[in-house]
Symmetry: C2
Subunit: 291 residues, 2 copies
DNA sequence: GACTATACCTGACTGTAGTCAGATATAATT
DNA sequence: AATTATATCTGACTACAGTCAGGTATAGTC
């Protein structure tokens, strides 16, 4: 009936209308959209002007003018960055903080309306939005170091363990340690915990911990279903291997389960080879890779 | 980690960027966006100016000017509507048709890039887009009369029959007649076939056919899963009852299966009551309603 | 046939986004 | 110390979207 292209066009029309309506509602506060957008990105603690300009992709001249208008209104104050006095930092005044909160409230209300309208389809709607945002923001997915006790890390681990439970037959739920009992091992200088974030949302992780002298173990490689098929697991692994090399390891090992076919295929493609068993159930595949 | 609101905001950012990129690519043809948008809505066969203006929510002055600019470029011709000489109809010239095709190609390319980037997640991406568009366009869902052999009707019926197969235990696939063997019965003046469309996409149907003198039968009520929970089934039924009344029927009947709990709950809420069996398997529920 | 409503057009105007060239201050490099 | 690069600012400019009041032709109504 509708071709793929038509379906995409229909989606575009729908969200254009929705986003347009939100933008229009921001105008209710008597300020042009550009200024409103800038104001929403300024924090009470202070935000780099360059960062805001970057995020909104604004010309430096325009940015300067918008900021000046907000200053004239008494909503923000700017000062030089002490670390580099060419750079400027914008900070909300109390009035500005109130105005900022007002914009937040508008957005909040619009979001709530959308979710309320969806009713019992709300969770499905949000899941669909996550999938689309993850796909569209694919190119800005960033991989960062995190602490193994970080909330984002716990989210990834919980999803990872759930995946294991769903995939490996006969795995008892109580065998999964959360939060990680061995968290310190994943911290510098002996280990690492990498998280992939797509505009804030954690969508993947991979970690490294010491095993024997000169040998580290790769643990808990996970990628959100929405983000699969785009080479994120490979990116995580490449980065993890680099990190292991930097930490002075000469050798990597990992254990896995044969039910996790996708992961094992990836390991083989990246040059991992089977090795002797060094752990027990639920592991039934053991691999290694010299660095 | 991210609240519902944050997830919605993230989605907004992602699609704003995407739509913005598409808009920007339209500028490549050296025409302002407004004119480009209007041109894309003009067809070779002729399109009502009022309709375009309505769809783009343009001021009549602005619309007039944009159209004049396109005329000056030799892309469109306008003439009076013979039925109402106050109204104007815009038609593409050969040059205009070529230009229109160029815009289509740009959009097509952008859509294909998005789908290609999604790779094996493409179908999931499109399904997510359909869900979101259906939710956001909820308020513009329209119900129209259709022919039972219309492609959109066949799509609805195929989905309906698939639903039956998935829901009713022991139903053999070959028992489902498609296209409808009794199609003529669903046409005026004895029957009706209603389709719900959300910006072109068929998302629901309901139909009526004669059963006995003065009695019509309601058949094949279906609503797409994306559109459930928003009262669309009720809207379809209300409209169907009105239509039955207009066609001179005094009484309605229907048969269903007890596995279709949602539908049966709706029928009861709308005043239908159980009646004597008048068909066989797969039906095991029979209801009627006086008009 | 007069009146009112409608569809569209024209001209005059406004506010905003966005661009560009050049100026100024600070930082980094040689 | 001189040079080059970077971050921001200022002023001048353009184009585009959008609004409004008033005008003309046609259609519908009493």
């Amino acid at each position: 009936m509708l071709s793929d292209i038509d379906r995409l066009r229909r989606f575009n029309r729908a969200v254009t209308r929705e986003v347009g309506a939100l933008d229009h509602s921001y105008l209710g506060r008597g300020r042009p959209l550009g200024a409103a957008r800038v104001l929403q990105l300024v924090t009470a603690g202070g935000t780099d002007v360059a960062r805001i300009r970057d995020q909104l992709a604004l010309d430096s001249g325009l940015m300067s003018r918008l900021l000046r208008a907000l200053e004239d209104e008494g909503l923000v104050e700017t000062g030089a960055d002490p670390a580099d006095r060419r750079r400027r930092i914008a900070r909300l005044t109390p009035t500005g903080a109130a105005e900022n909160a007002a914009y937040r409230a508008i957005g909040h209300l619009a979001a709530e309306t959308t979710l309320a309208r969806a009713g019992r389809q709300g969770p499905a709607l949000l899941a669909a939005m996550d999938l689309i945002a993850t796909q569209l923001l694919h190119d800005v997915t960033e991989i960062v170091d995190a602490d193994p006790d970080d909330p984002a890390a716990l989210i990834c681990l919980a999803a990872y363990f759930q995946l294991l439970l769903d995939t490996i037959p006969g795995l008892p739920a109580e065998k999964l340690p959360l939060p990680l009992a061995d968290a310190p091992l994943y911290r510098l200088p002996q280990g690492a915990f990498l998280i992939a974030r797509s505009d804030g949302l954690p969508i993947g992780c991979a970690s490294l911990r010491p095993l024997e002298p000169g040998v580290a173990e790769v643990k808990r490689l996970w990628v959100h279903p929405d983000a699969r098929g785009q080479g994120l697991a490979r990116r995580l692994m490449v980065l993890l291997e680099t990190r292991a090399r930097e930490l002075g390891y000469q050798h990597l090992k990992l254990d896995s389960n044969s039910a996790l076919t996708e992961a094992i295929t990836l390991y083989r493609r990246m040059g991992w080879i089977d090795c002797a068993a060094y752990t027990g159930f639920p592991a039934d595949v053991w691999m290694e890779k010299p660095l």
